[in-house]
Homo-oligomer: 434 residues x 2
């Protein structure tokens, strides 16, 4: 067997249909693809990574982020959302520029790679800069320029937003890592015309639609007042409830809403830590999973989380729903790991190429160190991943067959220099707000 | 200024009464004590630690643990408490022995030191082995042998439990690091006689009493049925509500219970992650803090958490109460850091010697690396600590003036060998259960 890359001596969690776990496993990679998954056998490879009895699992998928916002994390906390937005975020976003967005995105890419995320799904402004940062870092992503009725710091008027989106889709169409979607912001910040146009662009280019949906009570009240129905019912009415819709949050849902989401095969992204921190509410995730709805996991922007560590997010997801339902058997560990891997892939329309370690899929793989005090003993790798691990346990990250982090060292990004640039932007942001 | 140890070039969070934060700070240590806290000035020292612009803060205090149980973490998860206890924990505890307890404790000490905890408060069996492990690791602790009506794997009959406790108190009386308390398990596993005898021993030796209190609905129902009142009211009646009582969990409390806790100056230990994971309920912590009750933080045993990382616990504490109260301003970051430092010291009756970085206190200090992607930018150190950091950001740990971890390397424990021993015990435990 001739390989470009071999990963050996680890416990492989394939996350395939049968949830196969392979002890003393070997993953063989040829160029960007996985060509062998199984027990160790003879091979020759250009590069060999020894997993040192750690866990080999699919790279995690952060299905909802705003990566440039890493530069705003910790600016102000423990205050009501309105005050945070009006006194901190909006004044900064008025002065937003491509350089800031690029730096924030590259900082987030560094953080994501170092904590085991290999794919992310984003919405923000100047999103082409996010694409450039992801490309530099070697990350896979699905990106969208936020569209709404107000003037945007990037494109200005919404008509230019449509143009930007189409240009953005076409620009990256052939790229192996960068994927582009349409990004209508929310049902209450977008007019019906914007929402319908977003759907139209999505159909024209066969790309996903990313939206925030039913996040807060405020949104529910707004939409009910204006349209006499729930946000989900409203989107159904105007044709947006469809398999290409990736709906973040979905906190406040009626039974009927969930039924519409199920029938429409809408993909849901759960942001547990952000919903807790902003006191938005608790999404009925166990109910949706029981109904067969595809639910993935996102961190949301790190300004409202405040990190991009999906291992911590998995832990919180498991615990939040146990306490919410007063039942310790709710949200078992395997289901939670699925949410952060194969469900994330399905949500992003990428289940044919990522989300599990299977022959024929792209080689997006991470290795978790288990030779630590907090991961010892390891009776069951799923329990270890969800309840004991954090992102800092990740030692290696491979994306599209390329090693982007090796023994905790980033190979695609100069970490010290991006930290320095981020600090310089932070000083600038403090000046803007003073 | 002549020092044995100097820590320079960091942002000092003193956690003193005025909550002073000192930029470019210096902490001077002479033997076991802090002799200088302030801006950098001339000094000579045997050892100098450069904090590299990181955060210098008091070592964290884990106010409720069962450290030997690290060997049971991840054995079984996502099942009801009764099944977990009856099918896994009780059968193992029948075969408990000093060697297993020592290994599990040393493994936990390694994990705690590496994640920034310098003091812990424990209850289990063969607790003298926990003392030996803490002594070996160089950790400060308050330990108690669990007392109850059933036969104990250590002392057998309860009468021997009293003897063991008194012997244990006397054995470590003069030790600078090891402190011993009395440990009546719960109001429903201890008869009134056991509870009263525990109080008597506590008064005789002027040591704290550690108890689990009002953790589950089951407990409330049991006590109500037997005594016609709440567990707190029952303890009040028999004389246990007092300043020396350290009450873990306190999940299910009435207004009257909280009033009794306040009047009695009982110390409460909040175990947010464990209460979520076991679906026990949500402790009314914000209400207790508003009433002026001293609330500290514990992880509980790592078999029900599943790690001993107080940074993750702080994050969860902040978020859990925001969502529970549907108010993002509840449980602000400074209050949460206080819970894990100075409140922990008060809870353990050690506020004169630890819990803050102040001249005259013992040198229990940790340093947090902030030159990482997830800690950049750092607009406010409290937000960084609570919302962005994890225990793996800790680079140095100093306990009683002695450096026990330096640049993430444990100096008191051979990590590889303790991991190896723990794995060997895990194999044995699996055999016992098969």
């Amino acid at each position: 067997m001739e390989l470009t890359l071999a990963i050996k001596n680890g416990l492989i969690l394939t996350m395939d249909e049968e949830n196969r776990v392979i002890e003393n496993g070997l993953v063989g990679v040829l160029d960007d693809k996985i060509v062998y998954v199984g027990e160790e056998k003879d091979f020759s490879a250009n590069e060999i990574i020894d997993a040192k009895e750690g866990i080999i699992l699919p790279g995690l998928i952060n299905a909802h982020t705003h990566v440039p916002m890493s530069l705003f994390k910790g600016l102000a906390e423990d205050i009501p959302l309105k005050k945070w937005l009006e006194e901190y975020i909006f004044p900064i976003e008025k002065r937003l520029n491509p350089e800031l967005v690029y730096t924030g995105s590259l900082l987030s890419c560094a953080e994501m790679i170092m904590s085991g995320t290999t794919t992310f799904c984003d919405m923000y402004f100047f999103e082409d800069e996010v694409a450039k940062a992801a490309k530099k870092a070697g990350m896979r992503c699905l990106l969208s320029e936020g569209l709404f009725d107000f003037p945007s710091p990037n494109y200005g008027h919404i008509e230019k937003g449509y143009e930007y989106t189409e240009w953005f889709i076409e620009k990256w169409r052939e790229d192996p890592l960068i994927n582009v979607a349409v990004g209508p912001h929310t049902p209450y910040t977008c007019s019906e015309a914007v929402l319908k146009k977003a759907k139209e662009i999505s159909e024209k280019y066969r790309v996903p639609i990313i939206i925030h949906l039913a996040e807060t009570k405020y949104e529910i009240d707004q939409i009910k007042q204006k349209h006499g129905k729930s946000p989900v019912e409203y989107l159904k009415e105007i044709g947006l409830i469809c398999p290409r819709l990736i709906a973040a949050h979905c906190v406040h849902l009626s039974k009927k809403d969930m039924q519409l989401i199920k029938e429409g095969d809408v993909k849901v992204v759960h942001n547990a830590e952000c919903n807790m921190k902003l006191a938005s509410g608790i999404s009925p995730v166990p109910d949706m999973i029981e109904m067969g709805i595809c639910v993935a996991i996102g961190t949301d922007g790190s300004a409202s989380n405040n990190n991009l560590d999906l291992f911590q997010e998995m832990d919180t997801v498991a615990k939040l729903h146990k306490i919410s339902k007063m039942d310790p058997s709710v949200m078992d560990a395997v289901s939670v790991v699925k949410m952060a891997t194969i469900n994330g892939a399905k949500a992003l329309g990428m289940e044919d190429i990522i989300g599990s370690i299977e022959v024929g899929k792209k080689a997006d793989i991470i290795i978790l160190d288990t030779n630590t005090a907090h991961m010892t003993p390891l009776y069951n790798p799923f329990y270890g991943i969800v309840y004991s691990a954090t992102g800092s346990d990740v030692t290696h990250s491979i994306i599209d067959g390329k090693v982007v982090m090796k023994e905790r060292k980033l190979l695609t990004v100069d970490l010290d220099s991006i930290i320095k640039e981020a600090k310089s932007w932070a000083a600038q942001i403090k000046k803007w707000l003073s």
